[in-house]
């Protein structure tokens, strides 16, 4: 009997490579990182158990002067990028849903920035935003808005929002296509019924179809939150691991990088201390992740 059971479950072998790799390089590292956060360890030599000392340092000690601003910057990153991404993406997705000539080309064009490396996007926009000869400021001066021709990336007040905006520019295509999928999935009877009741096309979009899109917007919001708290590349590419000017763009990702992997200007370094930053980040991301899984699982036709 045992032999027979084993044979009938032979298909499970196809699951094994995924489970081994996923466990070793994704699941186990998360657990291991949590454990590491209770140790003082420079990366080599013996580990020293320090209990909650790393957390005390980050939340109330020397490192808190860097942790809280970075944390606040992640929140700002999320809020600004939400506004910049979701609202224009909705407008553009409705525009694509109108089915005008060239719609397929527009879909492809809107996704092209997504295909570029963040390092390259950061560099490219660094050029366009160059205070002396970048086209952004040239254009502002040409249209009589010279007062707005700021050193966007060098100014403490504008640097972070500028970086978020560049990041939004790159990511819009994904949001547009997901929202378009939502619009296309809405029953045709809804706009038809609206028209019979005398609603304008704009009213159909905003009053009848927008509510139907809330689940998609919720999904994208959760993804945006998860990505906003694990962001690193765009800041590193545009402002370096120091996250200048004067730390104005420092986020948890760059703070973690300086602490765990050195880099210039780390006020303190250590794998355990770095791991505690990660665990705190994880504590923020995890509830959002659970929420995401619940939302995704609730949708009809989903779930194992």
């Amino acid at each position: 009997m045992a032999h027979r059971t084993l044979r009938s479950y032979g298909f499970l072998l196809m699951l094994v490579p995924a489970l081994i790799l996923y466990t070793a390089f994704v699941a186990y590292p998360f657990l291991s990182s949590l454990i590491l956060s209770f140790y003082d360890w420079p990366g080599i030599g013996p580990k020293k158990w320090v209990g909650l000392a790393n957390y005390a340092n980050v939340l109330g000690g020397v490192m808190s002067k860097e942790f809280y601003p970075a944390f606040a910057h992640n929140i700002l990153f999320f809020a600004v990028s939400w506004l910049e991404s979701i609202i224009p993406s909705l407008i553009l997705a409705f525009g694509l849903a109108a089915g005008l000539r060239g719609t397929n080309a527009f879909k492809a064009i809107f996704f092209i920035p997504n295909t570029l490396s963040i390092v390259i996007v950061g560099f490219l926009w660094g050029l366009l935003l160059n205070p002396q000869w970048g086209i952004i400021n040239q254009t502002l001066k040409a249209v009589g808005l010279a007062s707005l021709a700021l050193p966007w990336l060098g100014n403490m007040n504008t640097a972070l929002v500028t970086i978020v905006t560049v990041n939004s520019w790159r990511g819009m295509g994904f949001y547009i296509l997901v929202l378009l999928a939502g619009i296309v999935g809405i029953s045709r009877e809804i706009p038809e019924a609206g028209r019979i009741d005398g609603a304008s096309e704009a009213q159909i979009a905003t009053r009848l179809m927008l509510p139907q899109l809330l689940p998609h917007i919720a999904t994208l919001t959760l993804l945006k939150a998860i990505w906003s708290f694990s962001v690193f590349d765009i800041v590193f590419a545009m402002e370096g691991s120091q996250a200048g000017p004067a730390g104005a763009t420092d986020i948890l990702g760059t703070l973690f990088y300086r602490i765990a992997f050195g880099g210039l200007g780390a006020s303190q370094i250590g794998m355990g201390l770095g791991a505690s930053i990660v665990t705190l980040t994880f504590l923020i991301v995890f509830p959002v992740s659970i929420l995401y899984v619940v939302v995704v699982e609730r949708k009809p036709g989903k779930g194992a």
Binding site: L12, L96, H216, V285, A304
Partner: protein
């Protein structure tokens, strides 16, 4: 979906064209600049070059290590994607089609990886790689990419598997075909559009990834293109012509690849791969 009158259609079209230009303009500036001399990049930054030159590409390729970075990126991307597609499609097939005790737990366990940013766990991954002597190894980087992209790819594919009717599979089973044969001969061909989506997503991620190479690769001869470009900024910051040629070498393959598969990719995405 909408019935627009002429004025409305013009307005919508204007918005779409404006955003398309805002997408394309920076990229076109970058592409065209790769064919200019350094002087012209500054004197005529946004116009077409007076004389198109390929010399920047030749120099970047031969003297600025771009041939090497390119080779590394191609190797890493090709093997990673092959690995991701194989491993995650097998897992997706089992999770979508078979019943076994603990299946839901396994599904949720893998789904969790969809939203756990792997970079948060980079210290233990780094230590594991160090113990396995996989630092500075392209093979090591490939293993990490395969592992960290399983969740997302399997999730997409599970949804696609569910949309494929079971009839074919059932008749093959009656004819005595085994699990792996059914998967390979019946399901894989039907999954083509889904595999295009998974391939593009992963190609974009892996080709462009900067974080893992930054952490795992120190040796100059192992750098992938994004890491090579980052260091290139420092070393060649004054040689703008080479810099732009290097940027173009990095972006052209992925844009071409995307445009080639874009129809299937967009169809995959808009038919509800992600909701």
């Amino acid at each position: 979906m909408f019935r627009l009158n002429r004025a409305q259609a013009v307005l919508v079209m204007a918005v779409l064209v404006l955003w398309a230009l805002m997408n394309l303009f920076p990229i076109l500036v970058m592409l065209v600049s790769g064919f200019k001399s350094t002087v012209e990049i500054f004197t005529n930054p946004f116009g077409l070059p007076a004389k198109w030159t390929m010399i920047n590409y030749v120099t970047a390729w031969n003297k600025a290590n771009f041939a090497l970075y390119f080779r590394n990126s191609v190797l890493v991307s090709a093997f990673s994607i092959a690995g991701i597609v194989l491993v995650s499609s097998m897992a997706a097939y089992i999770l979508a089609r078979y019943e076994f005790p603990g299946k839901r737990a396994v599904y949720l366990y893998i789904l969790a990886g969809l939203v756990l940013p792997a970079r948060l766990a980079v210290i233990p991954i780094f230590l594991l790689m160090r113990d396995l002597r996989l630092i500075n190894s392209l093979a090591g980087l490939i293993v990490v990419y395969v592992a960290t992209n399983i969740s997302f790819s399997a999730f997409l594919l599970i949804n696609f598997f569910r949309s494929i009717p079971m009839d074919l599979e059932d008749s093959a089973r009656i004819d005595g075909a085994g699990s792996f044969r059914i998967y390979r001969q019946i399901n894989l061909p039907l999954l083509r559009p889904a595999l295009a989506t998974v391939t593009i997503f992963n190609f974009i991620n892996v080709w462009n990834d900067f974080f893992f190479p930054l952490i795992f690769l120190n040796a100059k001869d192992k750098r992938t293109i994004p890491l090579g470009i980052q260091t290139f900024f420092g070393e060649f910051a004054i040689q703008w012509d080479l810099l732009f040629a290097g940027l173009n070498i990095a972006i052209i393959p992925v844009i071409i690849f995307f445009l080639m598969l874009s129809r299937q990719f967009i169809a995959g995405l808009t038919e509800g791969a992600i909701r």
